[in-house]
Amino acid sequence: MAEESVVRQSAEELPKPKSPYKEFARKFLKRKAAVVSLIFIIVLALVAIFGPMVIRYNPNAADYTALLQGPSPKHIWGTDEFGRDVFARLIAGTRLSLSVALGSVVVGTAIGIILGLLAGFYGGIVDSIVMRGSDILFAFPDILLAIAIVAILGPGVINVVIAVAVFTVPSFARIIRSATLEVKEAPYVEVARSIGCTNSRILWKHIFPGTVQSMIVNFTMRIGTAILASSSLSFLGFGANVTEPDWGTMLSQGRNYLNTAPHMVLCPGLLIFLTVLAFNLLGDGLRDTLDPKIK
């Protein structure tokens, strides 16, 4: 008798399971600007990995017979004041610039996520300490803070990574905290508590996955900012060693020859501009795709 009243429900009643990834890809492909940006970034990443192996010129080899030449078939983006091939230097610089940006954002994100989760979840004194700390860091303009940190630690690639990471942390902490506060109130978090989950299980298994969306979007946008910041630091002479190929450093060196050889500034400048734009557009596209409120 008990068996009869249980209404059996077969699997056929359900529509076919939709893969969330396929659904995401379908929506994302509708956003043309984001797709183009993604392709650009993928190409850039490939260049960063394989570029230095295929270029014709050694980026550091000086050629005193061809100083400050404009674009020509031999040197497609011209040469700099030591006769080094600008195209080769840009390709070689891609690896350094991208890895500095990526490294600093990864470090900053990791720290920011942990602080944000703890602040949002535990509230009270933990929240106050993390948020007031962030407020203090927010009070300085990003680039000024980075300059101050590099000034203290000394110039160098690693120190640029640290400097950019430091000003990435508070914005992440704040975003993850607010996402945590929102997810924390979800009924399924109370359910998790009622079935006996420990705090750390609730935090990592139930709350953290709920904040991943805002994390991905912010992560992408922050890479653009980080490229700009690390290039600015290099431009100001705080970044990579002047002999190393780096977008910011090249821009800084080209500045002296703006009248005679504008291509020295134009090429790295354009590349920085396009890269930052691509990351921002990709971030926008991801945000729009992941936000269920925007169709």
Binding site: P15, E190, S194, I195, P209
Partner: protein
């Protein structure tokens, strides 16, 4: 003492409101000296209108929030003051089914992982054993094992509530607190879920604390009923007794508001005047006196006690004490 699975004694919970700077502190008296007993194997229901403290009581009993005072004896052991770590082993005995079938399942977990979560926490079963148990449970609540591979958003409300029931059952609890488990569902689905709950109760000798504002639902599933008003229980009695002989004026009004599907029958409606008083400033004396048609001077001044009017039938009313 031991005949009760759970015994709630004088439970009080207030929430602070108006926390602003220099503002006068006020308290919402959500649960106001609530006492009741639940015997093993029975279904005890709490009914009352929105905001009367039913869900707060459920959350107190499930140790999701701490009471200000009072005792919650579970199998004779006071769990009200336990720390979270001390409470955790007991959680497998007291499981909860939640009101919102949409919000109570983590949207990023598969159904089988959701149902297996209590097993992961409370048992030492291997992943394979857990999966086997989950598939058994899915069959038990009328779903098929293939459903386990899916995500919550692919399910209807009724199916999700079945998942919630399977999850609560996974660790063989002695007691299940069901906080408005069917109020978010269609009437036809409500009956299915209630039937399922009754079948499972028979099969596993479960004890239910059932919380609802819907009297027809309560009439179907309960053995005994407690009527709540403004955070207090005003009347408790076996189901038949309370529907046949309601004593407290509030219970009478509540029962007379149930529509009867018979145009020939005209019941006398007890219409209450006034609004539900704010739980921030509960009335003096009997909490119900502001709306009671039989209010006397004594009602305004003195708080009535829960007294046993006939065997098993308790009522909190001065009129019944004198009768």
């Amino acid at each position: 003492m031991d005949e009760n699975l759970m015994s709630v004694q004088d439970l009080v919970k207030t929430f602070e409101v108006n926390k602003g700077f220099l503002a006068q502190k006020k308290y919402v008296h959500a649960v106001n000296h609530v006492s009741f007993d639940i015997k093993p194997g029975e279904t005890f229901s709490l009914v009352g209108e929105s905001g009367c403290g039913k869900s707060t009581t459920a959350r107190l009993l499930n140790h999701l929030i701490r009471p200000d005072s009072g005792k919650i004896l579970f199998e004779g052991k006071d769990i009200a003051a336990l720390k979270e770590d001390e409470m955790r082993p007991l959680r497998s005995d007291i499981q909860m089914i939640f009101q919102d079938p949409y919000g109570s399942l983590d949207p990023r977990m598969k159904i089988q992982d959701l149902i297996a979560e209590p097993l992961l926490i409370h048992t030492n079963l291997s992943a394979g054993e857990r999966l086997k148990k989950v598939q058994e449970l899915l069959g038990l609540v009328g779903l098929s094992p293939e459903h386990g591979e899916r995500y919550p958003h692919e399910f209807s409300g009724g199916q999700r509530q079945r998942v919630g029931i399977a999850r609560a059952l996974s660790v063989n609890p002695k007691m299940i607190i069901a906080d408005e488990p069917v109020s978010a569902l269609d009437v036809s689905i409500q009956a299915q879920v209630l039937n399922l709950m009754q079948d499972l109760q028979e099969k596993f000798h479960l004890t239910y604390l059932f919380i609802s504002h819907d009297l027809s639902v309560v009439e179907m599933i309960s053995d005994r009923i407690g009527v709540m008003y403004l955070g207090t229980i005003v009347e408790t009695a076996p189901k038949k007794e309370i529907f046949a002989h309601p004593l407290h004026p509030y219970t009478k009004a509540l029962l007379s508001a149930v529509p009867i599907a018979d145009p020939e029958q005209h019941n006398e409606r007890v219409a209450l005047k006034g609004e539900l008083p704010s739980p921030v400033n509960p009335p003096s004396g009997c909490l119900f006196h502001t709306r009671c048609p039989y209010c006397t001077k004594r009602c305004r001044e003195e708080r009535p006690q829960l007294t046993e009017v006939s065997p098993g039938h308790f009522c909190r009313c001065h009129l019944m004490e004198s009768a």
